[in-house]
């Protein structure tokens, strides 16, 4: 929310340049579209939680230009990302890689959902069997269907 504000602290009263500038835009629309998509996933190193696509900072502009240079030179998307990560570290990746300890981050949600779903299923079973036994036998297939619904 205070993006522009903090930026101003960095640049001290520089007038906002306003993200992607007209002179940066590549002539080839397909290449430009790739550039925009890539730059939305890269963090501006001196800003707070802004991608280089939306940042006003000078370094973000430099990165946007470098990225476009690489694309024009014929690099693939991965090569461009690798090129920038090699210079600025994985800090610039807004989409963290699913490698090493980051697996914990990516698997936390599914694992929690699985565990929670299991607990919920056990709870539901206990709740339904607490009453008359007819309820339980009636609902075997439904229980499975519900468990599937829960896992979606």
């Amino acid at each position: 929310m205070i993006r522009a504000g903090l930026l101003a602290l960095v640049l001290l009263a520089a007038v906002p340049a306003g993200a992607v500038q007209p002179d940066e835009v590549l002539a080839d629309p397909a290449l430009e579209a790739r550039a925009r998509a890539l730059s939305q996933g890269l963090r501006c190193p001196v800003c707070r939680n802004e991608s280089i696509d939306e940042s006003h900072a000078d370094v973000a502009r430099d990165l946007r230009l470098v990225l476009r240079e690489r694309l024009v030179a014929g690099d693939s998307d991965e090569e461009v990302i690798d090129f920038i990560v090699a210079r600025y570290g994985e800090y610039v990746l807004l989409n963290p890689t699913a490698r090493g300890s980051n697996l914990l981050l990516w698997l936390a949600g599914p694992a929690m959902l699985g565990a929670g779903g299991l607990i919920a299923a056990l709870y539901l079973r206990r709740r339904s069997s607490a009453g008359d036994p007819a309820a339980e036998t009636l609902s075997e297939t439904d229980a499975r269907r519900l468990a599937e619904l829960l896992k979606q």
């Binding site: 522009a4 306003g18 993200a19 007209p22 002179d23 939305q40 996933g41 807004l94 963290p96 300890s101």
Partner: protein, 657 residues
């Protein structure tokens, strides 16, 4: 003098809060009526004292009393009056004062309207509320005192952060705090129930309105913040998955889960211990939110109050309250097992699924928010977790919720039959699919996002309408409208909130998928095409504001030769704060916004202009408004007026929008 009195009132409030947190608790334990009855006057006194203190600070801001450090740092004589007032909470100290004021206000509401609560429960709730008050008043007085004087007052102040000088943002914090702090009521009720060792349907009925109030305010607060970001930050985005946005979003998700599980407690006497846990967690995440915002531990664009000492203090408060409450929970929760019995296919189960999805999605947001911190501390990796991660990890939960919602809401309590319950929804499903297919053929992009969003939204919205229609009974068609009007308000609230959810889902998908953008250099007098429109840059000139200088462009929006609107986007420069801001020129309409931003003057002549067409973007906030309205309608339901004394809150919650 008034400032000193305000300071003194704050110290007195701390003393009163101390009494309020100890005496009634002992009274409730020993069954001493006189000790218990200390709670109500104490709560009233506390709100009066803090209210006076807040008024004193506001007075200092309005009269520009520059002997006060806080006023110097956040105000200026030239600032418009409304921002002098909003400047009171536009900073760390003042916003905390607002925090404790709202806390005391909620406590006082229990004292004023809680006449039908059992005396011991009321005393304990107020005691817990008092403890939270003690913690935050101490925090305020010892680390963030707003009433510090300066030995040598300057001639003028340093002005409020210009980004905060905006009507949308002036009222964003109060609403957010009303939400955050409102969850303290759920927490106090949960802890009081754990001490009492009893949770029953009546308890669920008392907790639900407070949670509803908190949730409604949180919804409005978050919507205001997102709306502000949309029109103020200058690129038409509305949500950035910023740590501080997440800090308000997590309690919202938990509050939404709590709302639903409290229904099960109230109607079916099940899910009791889970509901208690949710109430504790919801407030816990409010505290974590406060911690994230106030400490600045997690690099965030919001953290204008980076201060480790304060961070440690809040962490201490968090540890104390969460640790204490969870220990109490571990000791007592087993005693409150449910009595209600239900089959796996039933409304109860659907609400369990709702809770599972909401709680896990909040957990995912939490993990993503703190992961950079964990990775740096534990794995020595400096990395970022940004929007791409959250979009990917969070969206499946929204999809699952939207898919399940209409089915769950038509299932009967105790035991349902999926095929029978789904019958009225078959038409809804077909219609939604048809709408999605239509969107697929009409759209020019090849994105799957827009059509899928439309299918889900139509499924939720039409499902809610079908549910309402179903509730009107099976009688002759002519009688149904009359029956509809006689449905309980909570049914209407449920429908409105669910429709709002669907509308917001659609709008987010639509604007993400179908937004168009144009960046170019335009000379004065030139025109350029923008979708079906033509835009002409007529003029760029300097315009003085009350406390800023603006460069204002005049752009004419035309369609088929007809002039539709004249838009005047600005770049502003605030000389005192030495900070630039942008003001977009927006032509609002229901189906699309035209959003124009003026950039820099180019060396070769002309101005950089960026233009966006944002389809359906206003439906994001219309959806939020409908959700809040639904909460308000539920709140005004007869059974709460009878049972929980939340009468006065309901009209306020609706009118405040």
């Amino acid at each position: 003098m008034i400032v000193e009195l305000g300071h003194f009132a704050l110290v007195l409030a701390l003393a009163v809060a101390l009494i309020q947190s100890v005496v009634p608790l002992i009274g409730a334990q020993r069954r001493w009526g006189t000790w218990m009855s200390v709670a109500e006057p104490a709560a009233t006194t506390q709100v009066l004292l803090i209210g006076f203190s807040f008024a004193a600070l506001t007075y200092a801001f309005v009269t520009s009393d520059f002997s006060l450090r806080l006023v110097v740092q956040n105000s200026h004589t030239l600032k418009p009056l409304i921002y002098k007032i909003s400047g009171v909470w536009g900073n760390h100290e003042g916003s905390l004062l607002l925090w404790v004021l709202i806390l005391a206000l909620y406590g006082a509401c229990v004292a004023w309207f809680g006449g039908n609560l059992p005396p011991s429960l009321r005393a304990r709730v107020l005691a817990v509320q008092g403890m939270i008050g003690v913690a935050f008043l101490a925090f305020l007085l010892f680390t963030s005192n707003p009433f510090l004087r300066l030995a040598i007052p300057p001639m003028n102040g340093r002005d409020l952060n210009p980004l905060l000088q905006d009507p949308g943002l002036a009222f964003h914090p109060p609403f957010l705090y009303l939400g955050y702090v409102g969850l303290s009521m759920a927490f106090s009720f949960a802890v009081a129930a754990l001490i009492e060792g009893r949770v029953d349907a009546a308890w669920g009925r008392w907790v639900r309105p407070w949670t509803l109030v908190a949730w409604v305010f949180l919804t409005i607060g978050i919507a205001l913040g997102s709306w502000w970001a949309y029109y103020e930050l200058g690129w038409g985005g509305f949500w950035f998955w910023d740590p501080v946005e997440n800090a308000s979003f997590m309690p919202w998700l938990f509050a939404a889960a709590l709302l639903h599980s409290a229904i099960v407690v109230e109607k079916r006497e099940a899910l009791k211990s889970w509901t208690i846990l949710l109430a504790i967690l919801a407030f816990g995440f409010s505290l974590i939110g406060t911690f994230i915002v106030r400490s600045g531990v997690i690099t965030s664009v919001h953290a204008f109050a980076n201060d480790p000492e304060r961070g440690v203090f809040i962490l201490l408060i968090l540890g104390l309250f969460m640790g204490g409450a969870l220990m109490l929970y571990a000791a007592r929760a087993a005693a409150m097992e449910a009595s209600g019995v239900f089959a796996p296919v039933s409304r109860e189960s659907a609400l369990v699924a709702n809770n599972l999805l909401l709680a896990v999605s909040a957990f995912v947001v939490f993990v993503g928010t703190v992961w950079p911190l964990v990775a740096e501390l534990v794995f020595a990796r400096k990395l970022s977790v940004g929007p791409p991660f959250f979009n990917m990890a969070f969206t499946p939960f929204v999809v699952a919720l939207a898919v399940l919602l209409p089915v769950g809401s038509v299932l009967p309590w105790k035991r349902g039959d999926l095929t029978r319950a789904a019958q009225p929804l078959a038409g809804v499903l077909v219609l939604s699919m048809a709408l999605g297919a239509l969107a697929w053929t009409v759209q020019t992009q090849r994105s799957i996002l827009g059509p899928v969003g439309l299918v889900l939204a139509a499924w939720v919205v039409l499902g809610a309408l079908a549910d309402l229609w179903q509730r009107a009974g099976r009688g002759p068609l002519a009688l149904r409208p009359a029956r509809l009007t006689r449905l309980p308000r909570s049914d209407w609230g449920k429908a409105a909130a669910h429709i709002g959810f669907g509308v917001t889902v659609f709008a987010v998908a639509a604007v993400t998928a179908w937004k168009t953008e144009d960046i170019r250099v335009v000379r004065i007098g030139e025109t350029y095409p923008l979708g079906p429109y033509v835009v002409q840059l007529r003029d760029v000139r300097d315009v003085p504001g009350p406390n800023y200088m603006a460069t204002q462009a005049e752009l004419v929006l035309q369609r088929d030769g007809q002039e539709i609107a004249i838009l005047r986007p600005e770049k502003r420069m605030y000389p005192v704060a030495r900070m630039p801001t942008t003001e977009a020129g927006i032509d609002h309409s229901l189906l699309r916004d035209i959003y124009l931003v003026i950039g820099d003057e180019q060396a070769a002549g002309g101005w950089a202009v960026r233009s966006y067409i944002e389809p359906f973007v206003n439906f994001i906030w219309i959806g939020c408004f409908l959700m809040a309205l639904g909460g308000g309608l539920s709140l005004s339901d007869r059974r709460f007026r009878v049972a929980a004394g939340a009468r006065r809150k309901a009209p306020g919650a609706v009118a405040a929008e």
